[in-house]
Symmetry: none
Subunit: 423 residues, 2 copies
Amino acid sequence: MTTIRSAEIIAVGSELLTPTRLDTNSLVLTNQLNALGIDVRLKTIVGDSRDDLRGVLSQAVTRSDLVVLSGGLGPTDDDVTRDVVAELLSRPLAEDGELVARLQTRFAKRGLDMPAINRRQAMVPAGAEVLPNPNGTAPGLWLEHKGCVIVLLPGPPRELTPMFEAVSRERLAARAEGVPLLRGIVRVAGQTESHAEQRAKPFYERWRERGVPIDATTLAAPASIDFHLTVRSPDREAGRRVLDEAVGELAAAFGTDAYATEDRGMEYVVGQALRTSGLTVAVAESCTGGLLGSRLTDVPGSSAYFLYGIVAYSNQAKQDLLGVDAALIEAHGAVSEPVALAMAGGVRRRAATSIGIGVTGIAGPDGGTADKPVGTVAIAVEGPWGAAVRTRTFPGGREQVKFFATQAAMDDLRRALLQRRGQ
Amino acid sequence: MTTIRSAEIIAVGSELLTPTRLDTNSLVLTNQLNALGIDVRLKTIVGDSRDDLRGVLSQAVTRSDLVVLSGGLGPTDDDVTRDVVAELLSRPLAEDGELVARLQTRFAKRGLDMPAINRRQAMVPAGAEVLPNPNGTAPGLWLEHKGCVIVLLPGPPRELTPMFEAVSRERLAARAEGVPLLRGIVRVAGQTESHAEQRAKPFYERWRERGVPIDATTLAAPASIDFHLTVRSPDREAGRRVLDEAVGELAAAFGTDAYATEDRGMEYVVGQALRTSGLTVAVAESCTGGLLGSRLTDVPGSSAYFLYGIVAYSNQAKQDLLGVDAALIEAHGAVSEPVALAMAGGVRRRAATSIGIGVTGIAGPDGGTADKPVGTVAIAVEGPWGAAVRTRTFPGGREQVKFFATQAAMDDLRRALLQRRGQ
């Protein structure tokens, strides 16, 4: 029996090729496979076309140790998976008497006669084993062909998921080499992708030379550069040690730019720092319109440190609610460092919190000038340690500028808290 | 020049093969392609593996008229798309001087030196045309090979989307001769999916009998039930007429529950209504933490009607900032209809706006009681016409409860504005 190291997933169904649908089954399958130490190297979504499925499948069975197909097992002519697999592997289809009986019972239980077309679902390719489906009419199938395992699963998630869990437990676990894939992450703020990548590169090279190879991928997430590290090790503990060490090394290389070594957002990192320090925060937002408060309060239990937010969209609101001097706005403009500082100080005094944050900027698409183009945002943080302000220019459309600005504001707060702790 | 009838999409990137990521770019691409009458027959997601990409691409270029690749155009060794395409089609890579200069300018604008590795992004396969990327460093590429058009796009959505829109408009539109697929949408609020589906069903049947068949799909979007209608007609005008009529019929059947017949969110619908009526709004939020203000201000030009927001997370803040009576909170609890009304009235008076909205609830995961479980949210709207309040219980986790609450608050405002106009 072949050991299964790599897999690919083929989703069958024309509805998955429309502009509003994605194949989410593959996430469930990937999760199960990775847990067994099986890599997913390819995913394909193909319509209800015999030719296209044949083309994809013929490559897949020679390329991967395991091919998991989902969908196309229904009773209608559109359901082509069973036929194509049987034909490609030269396994004639024959009706399985037991399956017919099982299907009839299923319909009878609901007081229905089995429609004639459902007999198609009892057709089984020679040499295939039937995977029972307690949640629907389409049985799954398990075949082996020239060192490749082929699994056919029904498309509906509530049928596919339990069936694949059973397949993983009862059949795949014994066939997988059992070298689990361990994942680690380093999230970096305040750097461009290329600069972060350049700093990480020497580590990649060093790791490559080691006994246990570490695989690293860089991903530019919204307002964050993420390094995903994976280690495959038969000894889970040893693998974890190697991975933790690598994560530590990389994080250390980025210093305070590395804001997280787990898959959580900046709002969680900042929340944890506030909670630990016993400090409270209030925010004064203009261009972000409330998004900073919303992100800070996405964290369960954030009421322990988030007291309130003021969205002062108009100049009048900045004066009335935050006590920003009209003359200051007049002199520097609403989007300026002095106004950001006045907003941070104003909200901090009003809320009587340890920290105040002020954000003012131009989210666009209108309102930009040569001096202050769209994307210009001034962010101020005031705490018991004093106040600091910084102006940045963010790229992209309105929603992206808003998101980047909230990320930067939380990052500024995070760095201020780190510095204070270091003192 | 070949006419383009069918396309396939290849997304490149190992991160898209992990259990938490999906290739959402393909939805944007499919939408554009379908609008030109080009069918998407296959989608593939492949890791950063030269061999796997080569295998997939070699089939694709012989199978489809158009192959769109996304991702893998970055500056690092992981970015294999450019190399594999050049190698497979035997098109040697050469550095494009103009591109190098453009990249250097891009970095210089941000006060940075261009890292050496970014030079890779200026390598262009022989015979390829460069697609400019105003939003990032990776240029796109357009190639033709034995009757197949190959388009390489950068992976980040904010770079890919505008680039492909330009490609569709400037290059593909002239090459596609398919029967255009026309799309319509009806968005419905305040109904469950099954109820909405049941009400829509008779229409589906009626449409099926008509000359031009209308295809309808129901999609449960976040806090919205969307009916997507499509018509494929060689006569664009006739098709559009049939589609518009169907959209009108379905929207009429849902009455005021149908909030949009275009693909825009509730914040745009409400924004339009506020702008037309010349009314202004201020919001007082508790459990939504600023998300209501943020969504309202996602709309460009919202400063015309959105004056300010107060995120009163603590009880003290509700009293200090909104003038909510402590006795009222004591008597009914912070999450109650009287408090929501007091918040709406309080923020309306303070901001001197036409309308005030108050939202108070329990986003979870903690804080629920038998009486008021997690997901309980009271929403009040006060305007010149008076005040109304309603309590709902939303399903899901913290972020979902927050989103549903903001959607309901805007929907309540929308209905109040409709009623006022009807008077």
